[in-house]
């Protein structure tokens, strides 16, 4: 706007070097501060535009339109549109629910509150379950019903008007915010998405390269796994926001799903290979790692374009060609490694290690080649692509462990009921505001890993807004005549707080300030200046927020997002499902669920991770390795005949594993390890049998490699059950009837 151009105009006098420096400063200012001020101007324009239209149309409460603009104001236009759409849908659903509830129980207060609490519980649980933009729609459906039904208790006949007014005002706010945000100096989510995709690929390739050169220790690897899980989640949320922008992202969803699925799978295979090598090295067994060193050298060479991995999808073409060349040389590498191995003295164990490592290397080569192909195709024109993908790729989907979601729903419902009782007892006219606000924040904060902090920040913003709103309302607005003067007297306060929202640390405070400011000043065509109700309302709002914090502290405080215990249980449940379930796409589900759980674990970590959290993290990573081997083994076993001895052995082994995952106790762990040992012995005996065809021998070899992997993973320190069996009772009730 005019501010950046004014400062850009300054560097025109003096020698070139200060001028250049001034220009650099100006450009830096435009890139950082300029963007923030553009955001401030956009939000203010949208807010006052919405307010003006609401005044013009004579709406009952124009402030709702204005507050919607503040809520929907997000840095990128994709995010704003996404939130707007879900806010609209949520409002519609909430209004319908409110109409139905009030219509059913107009005279029955108790039943009305129970029905309302049930609705709020369902919506909040749904929101806590999803943790994406859709969950905001759920939250809104829940609390909109409260917002409409509670004021309608005294006058049930008004409920329809209230609902219509609410929907109209919210849609007006959304339309204004969307139009201004999208058309005026938009910041595209698509750019962000491209950055995320590039970053994900780059960090993955760098990880493989560094790990192959032995530059990563275990702790770095853990951190990278966590970051990877976060990046995958960010990719999905960026994609879903960019979906709403003008462009071709919505037709590329399949490609992006394929990209993130391919990265997840390739990372797991790579990690399994890396972990196998690490375990051998730690054991002091260097025969296999040394034999495979030239192969890894070739891999890490192929990963680099010049001296770093491909930065863009176009550069990835080079990597793709290198990998194609590598694929042609791979059989030769494998034969050479086997030949060299045969010439040296070795044990049966080492033979198994070598075969497993070779198997994994070939799998990794295929998976990485697939990944690079998907990545390279991303920027291409859609019409250039040969045909539609035959098998649709499933999306990465975030899902909170069900117990946490249920707890969130219960908490919101209980908050509503308890406060309704208190409201009845207090007989305070403003208490309805407090009740609504508590429910709103119990629902909103339930998808945050740190709800107390989120609500506290908002409370600070609310409290801060009260004195300023008082000054604005009773010293300025009462002298004001006309809309322009109203804008002039409100804008300075709002500009500062919107500016504050552009700093991540101030986001909660700034948003709280905006909402409270618009809420209690309540600009209307016929302004009402009532100091008593001003203070009553502001006290009620703040009390409502404080009560929300209290609810989080009192009702089921340990059931929150990122709770380690629930995540660990969900992990074991997922692995159990791999052993027993016959659903399609198990592998994809498992991958994305485990990454999602890792991401949740990461959300819950404040500061450095504790020992227990790191243990859970290691368990997750080891279970990922193990899960793939289990799936592969089951797929192989399904090819054998019903009564084939190999199949019987494998089935017994899987059953023992399932028993362990159902109840991780030391005794069952020992049984599972023994079962894999027995199965391996059976398979080895069958392999020596001469009657097998080449294909059967290959299948047996692959199954042996899988069993070997399962065995080593089971012996990994993270999967050893703790000495005190009662310390972590992972008795999973949820897993048996796990919702599909």
């Amino acid at each position: 706007m005019n501010a950046p151009s004014a400062s850009a105009g300054t560097p025109d006098a003096g020698p070139p070097s200060p001028a250049q420096r001034a220009r650099a400063v100006a450009q830096d200012w435009i890139a950082n501060e300029g963007q923030r001020w553009i955001f401030v101007i956009k939000t203010l324009t949208a807010a006052f535009l919405a307010l003006w239209i609401a005044f013009l149309m004579g709406f009952d409460s124009p402030r709702s339109a204005m507050m919607t603009v503040f809520i929907v104001a997000l840095p990128s236009s994709g995010m704003a549109l996404e939130k707007g759409v879900y806010r609209f849908l949520g409002t519609i659903a909430g209004c319908c629910a409110a109409l139905a509830i009030v219509g059913m129980f107009p005279q029955q207060r108790a039943l009305l509150f129970l029905a309302l609490a049930l609705w709020v519980a369902l919506c909040t649980a749904g929101a806590a379950q999803m943790r994406n933009a859709r969950s905001y729609g759920f939250v809104l459906a829940g609390y909109t019903a409260c917002m409409i039904a509670l004021p309608a208790i005294a006058a049930p006949l008004q409920v329809f008007n209230l609902a219509v007014a609410r929907v109209t005002e919210i849609s007006l706010g959304i339309l204004c915010a969307a139009a201004i945000n999208d058309a005026l100096f938009p910041r595209h989510q698509t750019t962000q998405l491209v950055q995320t995709v590039r970053g994900l690929y780059l960090s993955f390739a760098q990880l493989c390269h560094d790990a192959m050169h032995g530059r990563l220790d275990d702790e770095q690897m853990e951190r990278l796994h966590l970051r990877f899980a976060t990046d995958v989640a960010a990719l999905e949320s960026n994609r879903s926001a960019a979906f709403f922008e003008a462009g071709d992202i919505r037709t590329r969803s399949q490609q992006l799903y394929a990209f993130s699925a391919a990265t997840m799978v390739a990372l797991t295979t790579f990690h399994t290979l890396h972990q196998l090598m690490q375990r051998l090295r730690q054991r002091g067994d260097f025969l296999v790692p040394d034999l495979l060193a030239p192969l890894f050298e070739a891999f890490s060479d192929a990963l680099l374009v010049t001296d770093m991995p491909a930065r863009t999808a176009v550069e990835a073409g080079v990597t793709r060609d290198k990998f194609a060349a590598l694929q042609r040389r791979l059989p030769q590498f494998v034969t050479e490694a086997r030949r060299d191995f045969g010439q040296q003295p070795h044990t049966a164990q080492q033979q198994l290690d070598l075969e497993t490592a070779l198997e994994l290397t070939q799998r990794f080569q295929q998976e990485f080649a697939h990944l690079i192909a998907v990545y390279h195709e991303l920027p291409g024109h859609l019409t250039d692509r040969p045909s539609k993908v035959a098998v649709p790729v499933l999306p990465y989907s975030a899902k909170t462990p069900p117990m946490i979601a249920v707890a969130a729903g219960l908490r919101a419902a209980l908050a509503l009921l308890i406060l309704a009782l208190a409201w009845y007892g207090l007989n305070w006219p403003s208490a309805a505001g407090a009740v609504i606000l508590t429910v709103v924040f119990c629902a909103l904060a339930s998808s945050s890993p740190n709800p107390e902090q989120m609500v506290r920040k908002t409370t600070e913003g609310f409290a801060l807004a009260v004195p300023f709103a008082f000054v604005c309302a009773f010293y300025m607005l009462n002298h004001v005549e006309g809309f322009l003067m109203l804008v002039l007297s409100m804008a300075p306060f709002l500009a500062v707080s919107i500016y504050a929202t552009t700093w991540p640390r101030m986001l909660g405070i700034g948003t709280g300030f905006n909402l409270m400011f618009a809420q209690i000043i309540s600009p209307e065509n016929m302004m009402r200046f009532n100091v008593v109700s001003f203070f009553n309302d502001s006290i009620a709002q703040i009390i409502g927020l404080v009560l929300a914090v209290l609810m989080f502290a009192l009702i089921l405080p340990s059931h929150r997002q990122g709770s380690r215990r629930h995540i660990a249980e969900a992990m074991w449940g997922e692995t159990l499902r791999l052993c027993v379930s016959d659903r399609p796409h198990l592998r994809h589900h498992f991958e994305s669920r485990m990454r999602d759980l890792l991401n949740q674990l990461n959300m819950g970590i404040r500061g450095t991770a504790g020992a227990a959290t790191r243990r859970t993290l290691n368990q997750a990573i080891t279970l990922l390795e193990l899960g793939h081997a289990v799936l592969d083994l089951r797929a192989l076993a399904a090819q054998w005949q019903e009564r084939h001895p190999a199949r019987l052995a494998v089935d017994t082994c899987i059953a023992a594993l399932a028993a362990y995952f159902r109840q991780p106790q030391p005794q069952r762990h020992a049984q599972a390890v023994a079962a894999t040992g027995t199965a391996m012995a059976t398979l080895q005996r069958l392999q020596v049998d001469t009657g097998n065809t080449l294909q059967q021998r290959a299948a047996l070899q692959r199954a042996l490699a899988d069993l070997h992997l399962i065995n080593t993973s089971l012996r990994d320190a993270s999967l050893q059950p703790p000495a005190r069996a009662s310390a972590s009772p992972h008795v999973i009730q949820g897993a048996a009837h796990d919702p599909a």
């Binding site: 139009a179 999208d182 938009p186 003008a246 462009g247 071709d248 024109h381 859609l382 019409t383």
Partner: protein, 66 residues
């Protein structure tokens, strides 16, 4: 010619609202086509272009129907 207001279950709803909803539906389809055939790569301001498309569709429909 359609009436200014339509009664839905006894509630008077402005008929322009239905026209608007219809044009939003059409707009979603046109938008998808534009994305698929890369039209947005060739315009200067895709978001503004899209907004204008919506206005044009709505305006055309409203003028046609009234």
């Amino acid at each position: 010619m359609i009436p200014r207001e339509v009664a839905v279950f006894g509630i008077l709803v402005p008929s322009l609202l239905f026209v608007f909803l219809l044009s939003v539906v059409i707009h979603v389809g046109v938008d998808w086509l534009c994305g698929h055939f890369g039209v947005y790569r060739r315009v200067w301001h895709p978001a503004l272009f899209r907004l204008c498309l919506l206005v044009c569709i709505f305006g055309a429909l409203a003028l046609l129907l009234y």
